[in-house]
Symmetry: C2
Amino acid sequence: MSAPALTALQVGDAITPLSRRVTQVQINAYAEASGDPNPIHTNEEFARAVGLPGTIAHGMLSLGILAGAVARWAGGSERLTALGARFSRPLLPGDTLTCSGRVIAVEEASGVVSLAVEAVSDRGDSVLTNGRAQVRLDT
Amino acid sequence: MSAPALTALQVGDAITPLSRRVTQVQINAYAEASGDPNPIHTNEEFARAVGLPGTIAHGMLSLGILAGAVARWAGGSERLTALGARFSRPLLPGDTLTCSGRVIAVEEASGVVSLAVEAVSDRGDSVLTNGRAQVRLDT
């Protein structure tokens, strides 16, 4: 992965968008790996019983995909120094999540670049909103 | 999981801390589930070659544990509406991560509670800092 050149970056520049389709198989794997036992993610019947349209992906799975989008653009996950977002709408198995972002600040001395980031589903839902990320690029 | 009563909450109240030991087995599972192929998380030799003390956990794995701590305290992961933090120090396999937090704002009308959150390792490293979480409790 090649990182963007710090000196060429400008406020408003977009990061390369990343789209990823999320499957129930991946949601099940994430439930196991993360240790989140909430059956709204893995049990269709349970999810419907609590008023959901079916199982939903973990918000942290979506946030992890967003982290991957920023890390890929920045040239490696070790360059991602901060991340946060609002979990606004659920992502359903079979949905494709598209992550995007824009540079909102560049500190040339330290190499710290701040980004506004978000993720939307292919059904038009704003899954992650009000996102902020920070990366550290080579000075 | 029983949620805290909104009306009883006060600014400064601590959430129930959560400690979790992270193993290489879990890091490997997380790498697969999240689709992050960076070998600094799974390949000891590679990690040492790039100057790390060995493999390190994904920052998003630590953030996921922090999410779990907030969700458990709030009475369910569906109540966690926003989360973010700074990835300050790496977490190593075998380390135990302890997550904690304090209430910084309570909006009684909407049920939205804001928290300052963080996570430290049992070797004294501040793994996640400057964390903010938001949960929505029953009004």
